[in-house]
């Protein structure tokens, strides 16, 4: 079923897109949000003009999803919009394919904040940040600033390049495939669910410099340090609950494959890695957790291993038997598969897209960046972080009432000598 890749017609979803579209339901959101807090209140009309100019340059974002007999597929969306809306307190609401004119990208503004929400089947964080950076550049140009097309800002007058539209998974799927071994059940870190469509968001802001110095003092990277803090906090939480048998604590950490395989695709190109600590073997100090995380991440991240894993995933979706199963049967099976292989073996998600770099001309106009992950399949928090300048923003977002994971996480940073400022959308 080869899709014509010229973007004038339909095209098929990439490997990650197949999964996210099959999972989409009212109680799970494969939507993530990036926000930029600007130096002055947002001009909504200028932002709408910027959206209108930017969208045609990104045909992979200007799509609607359609349901075929066997698979979902994308087709260009020529409907009016997408429109910039007033921001809401419960972000990252699950996407409904038939609503909002079929748009899979949403734009919001509130005071100084510009937010873009993207359905994960469309693109991963790496692709969405290129889109967002270009949108911010066009917005600032609309306000009269001169912003060059450097540091990853794409030229909106140029036609989209074929490399941006490619399915990078398919391109690099070669050789022997490997789908990972059986992964046991991890501690689920769930809490009391909030009423329908409530997403509790708590953001912490700290200095990148302080974090870097702290991570350096342990001989690790910032991502490794923050992942280890999160794992230690979850390990301690499980220990306080005193279960009969302590389960392993494992995180899902998405890896941007563009750093390993030369691809400029604006679609999905990620894999997840799984650092895991098994507390049934004995108590771990923070330094021991940190050492484990540091070595596990480095051991698992090799070009060959990642290629084998993405090849295994691609081969799985190309399976002839799976191809002929109607979508109505395929979706529940994939949802069950995700629950067993994508939810059960993990205690949470931590993602760090890294530093958001912009042309120097844009820097004074952006105060900070923010990232939020949508609600998980069960009431637990997802953690995400992004840095801009000297501000590292760390978000905990989830549908659980309790705040224990984020509270202990930020208290840990404070005890470790890192000053944190906290903001939240919680009202009680």
């Amino acid at each position: 079923m080869p899709g014509r890749e010229g973007m004038s017609e339909w095209y098929r979803l990439d490997n990650a897109g197949v999964l996210y579209s099959a999972l989409q339901k009212e109680t799970y959101s494969a939507i993530y949000r990036f926000s930029a807090v600007m130096d002055r209140p947002v001009d909504r009309q200028a932002l709408q003009r910027a959206v209108d100019q930017t969208m045609p340059r990104f045909p992979t974002f200007r799509v609607r999803i359609k349901r075929g007999a066997f698979w979902y597929y994308f087709e260009p969306n020529d409907a009016p919009g997408p429109y910039v809306k007033e921001d809401i307190s419960n972000p990252c609401q699950p996407v409904r394919f038939q609503e909002d004119n079929g748009w899979l990208v949403r734009f919001y503004c509130y005071e100084h904040r510009i937010s873009v929400e993207v359905f994960h089947a469309v693109s991963d964080g790496g692709g969405a940040l290129v889109f967002f950076k270009t949108l911010l550049a066009v917005y600032l140009r609309e306000l009269g600033h001169r912003i060059p097309n450097t540091c990853g800002v794409l030229d909106i007058t140029a036609p989209p390049r074929p490399e941006e539209l490619e399915d990078a998974y398919g391109k690099y799927a070669q050789g022997k495939g490997w789908r990972g071994g059986r992964r046991g059940r991890a501690y689920q870190n769930t809490g009391t669910p909030e009423p329908f469509y409530t997403l509790n968001v708590t953001m912490g802001f700290c200095s990148v410099l302080q974090l870097k110095q702290k991570a350096k003092s342990y001989g690790v990277s910032i991502t490794e340090y923050l992942a280890a803090v999160l794992m230690k906090v979850i390990l301690d939480k499980q220990h306080r609950e005193a279960p009969g048998r302590e389960l392993p604590v494992a995180l899902a950490i998405p890896i941007n494959l563009r750093a390993w395989f030369p691809s400029e695709s604006l679609r999905n190109f990620i894999l997840t890695t799984r650092p895991v600590i098994d507390p049934s073997l004995g108590e771990y100090s923070f330094e021991e957790v940190l050492s484990q995380v540091h070595h596990m991440l480095r051991l698992n991240l090799s070009r060959q291993r990642m290629r084998a894993e993405l090849t295994g995933n691609v081969r799985f979706t190309q399976n002839h038997l799976l191809q002929i199963v109607p979508i109505a049967l395929k979706n529940p099976v994939m949802a069950l598969g995700y629950r067993l292989a994508g939810v059960r073996p993990y205690s949470g998600t931590y993602t760090n897209p890294g530093a958001f770099l912009v042309p120097p001309e844009m820097e004074p106009h952006i105060r900070r960046m923010e990232v939020i992950l949508g609600q998980a399949t069960n009431p637990r928090v997802h953690c995400a972080s992004i840095s801009y300048g000297d501000v590292m923003e760390i978000t905990f977002a989830g549908t659980q009432k309790e705040t224990d994971t984020e509270r202990e996480f930020f208290r840990f940073l404070i005890r470790d000598g890192i000053a944190v400022k906290v903001e939240s959308n919680r009202t009680e």
């Binding site: 419960n90 005071e111 000053a419």
Partner: protein, 234 residues
Amino acid sequence: MPYCVHCGVELDATATFCPLCQTPVLDPVQPPDTTSPKPFPTQRGEVAPVSKQELALLLSAMLICVAACCGLLNLFLKPGRGWSLYVIGAAAMLWLWLVPPLLARGMHLLLRLLVDVAAVGLYVYLISMDLNGQAWFWGLAAPVIFWGGAVLLLLGLVLRVYRRSVITSLTILIGSLGVFLFGVEYLIDQWLYRAWNPSWSLVVLTICVGLVIPLIIVRRIPSLREEAHKRFHL
């Protein structure tokens, strides 16, 4: 800038409590800023209602169509026997189960159960019409259906009105099943023999009581309850 006295984190100037530990911000020198905008919007995103009317319309059309086609066919196929009443009754019952909850948003539990029980009653009544079974319908089927409805209603109200733990809910469920079957045998006996001679339902009730007793003990003794919560992740 306010700080949380428990967490040590800096808070937004507009914050009235710490979002991590809910400790109120109490600074007599610098009260929370009530004029500046909050860091996040306070307006919730409204959930666009799913088009339930359309779904109700489609379901109604399908069920009416099935009922009409079978009614028509009955005129030619075995016209002496009202077999289509079974299909029409099933369609009516399904309609009453599915469509009113779609049309009436937040339909009250009591009303919904009444409608559902009435639908079952209607269907069984139609069957009794075909089988000339008015006697067994009014003598046995209707009392059993209403008894079942009453037990369900009580169960629904108890489980819904009061927030129950899993153990308590399970206890109530098992207990209700025993009581329902006990009542069913009473009604059968009354219909058949005009006398009550409990036998099999007593066995079922005893089994239910046997199942319920350990659950009540676990529920009543805090240490056991905590252990059950811990072991079974309740």
